[in-house]
């Protein structure tokens, strides 16, 4: 059981670590992009929005990190 728990902790640290927004953010971006594709929005528009979404995730992470750094 302790091995399972240790593996779970390792996996959590590997994928989420100390920045939950870098795990949740890309998933949200992809779900929104998929929904737009299903709604018939042009691929090029969805692609650009996806990049903007990823950059917003970076901005959110930096904002949260810098807010707590000083």
């Amino acid at each position: 059981m302790s091995y399972v728990r240790a593996f779970g902790a390792f996996l959590y640290d590997f994928l989420i670590g100390d920045a939950w927004e870098l795990f949740v953010g890309p998933i949200v971006v992809l779900v929104v992009a998929w929904s737009l594709i299903q709604a018939g929005v042009a691929a090029v528009v969805v692609g650009v929005l996806m990049v903007v979404g990823v950059l917003m995730v970076v901005a959110l992470n930096l904002f949260l990190a810098l807010r707590g750094s000083i």
Binding site: F14, L15, G17, A19, L22, F23, G25, P26, I27, V29, L30, A33, W34, I37, Q38, A43, V44, V46, G47, M50, V51, V54, L55, V57, V58, A59, N61, L62, A65, L66, S69, I70
Partner: protein
């Protein structure tokens, strides 16, 4: 797809992690016992090779390419964002950079406090620390090799790229015989992070049904867009930190004057 697509990120990521693993192995070898440390390294590398072979082959053989690109693209996006954001924060000065000399010194001190090295036979501490160091640092490389290699259909070139990087770092380590603190680890991490985000976006996009109008040229456009945004983010973060420090300094000076 060009084999370099998988080779370059695997090589760079492997070089960064190999530098970190080399620090651990050097500290163990110098402080305790080289033979056990090298056995630990060999066992760690064998486990990593097994992980890459088993997972890489299984993924390539059994997972449909559409699902593969969505899952792997998402993982690359998540992982690439972690590497890039940390590199940006380190470059801006908000997070401490990896200092191999300092890490080496601290580890050396801890190892000297362990039980003495046995006079005959292998030293369990040396083996365990070297094994764990190689395995943990190498898991990130294995992840990148498996994801990049299987998505691009270039598992062998990716593994070869990682192996060449490890051997190069080991060779340099043997020659200089001290931690490689002059390797620009943070810069390399930034470059690898940008590549991971780029391919993550490209493949996850294809996985959800985006047919990129410019084909493979999109990859180059994404690299330029993300790298430019990353450099601007470093500049902005530095400026933000500087402004806050100045404000704090000014407030403290005003308080002292009162």
């Amino acid at each position: 797809m060009d084999p370099f697509v998988a080779v370059v990120p695997a090589f760079l990521a492997s070089a960064v992690e190999a530098v970190e693993a080399l620090t651990i192995v050097l500290a163990v070898g110098v402080t305790r016992q080289w033979r056990s440390a090298l056995y630990g390294v060999a066992t760690g590398l064998a486990v990593l090779a097994l992980i890459i072979a088993v997972f890489g082959t299984a993924i390539v053989l059994f997972v449909p390419i559409g699902a593969l690109r969505l899952v792997i693209g998402s993982l690359l996006l998540i992982y690439g964002l972690q590497w890039t954001c940390k590199a940006i924060l380190r470059a801006a000065g908000a997070k401490a950079k990896h200092d191999e000399t300092q890490i080496y010194g601290a580890l050396e001190g801890r190892l000297r406090q362990e039980a003495p090295v046995p006079e005959h036979g292998l030293d369990g501490v040396s083996f365990a620390v070297a094994f764990k160091g190689v395995l943990l640092e190498g898991l990130e490389v294995a992840f990148i090799v498996v994801t990049f290699g299987s998505s691009a259909g270039q598992l062998l070139p990716a593994a070869a790229g990682a192996l060449v990087a490890c051997l190069s770092v080991a060779l340099i380590g043997v020659v200089v015989h001290r931690p490689l603190s002059r390797v620009p680890e943070n810069g390399l991490k930034f470059v690898v992070g940008i590549m991971l985000i780029t391919f993550g976006t490209f493949w996850a996009g294809e996985g959800i049904g985006i047919d990129w109008p410019t084909g493979d040229l999109t990859i180059l456009m994404l690299v330029v867009a993300y790298a430019s945004a990353g450099l601007v983010a470093i500049w902005l973060s530095r400026a933000m930190l500087e402004t806050r420090r100045r404000r704090r300094g000014g407030a403290a000076a005003a308080f002292a004057a009162k």
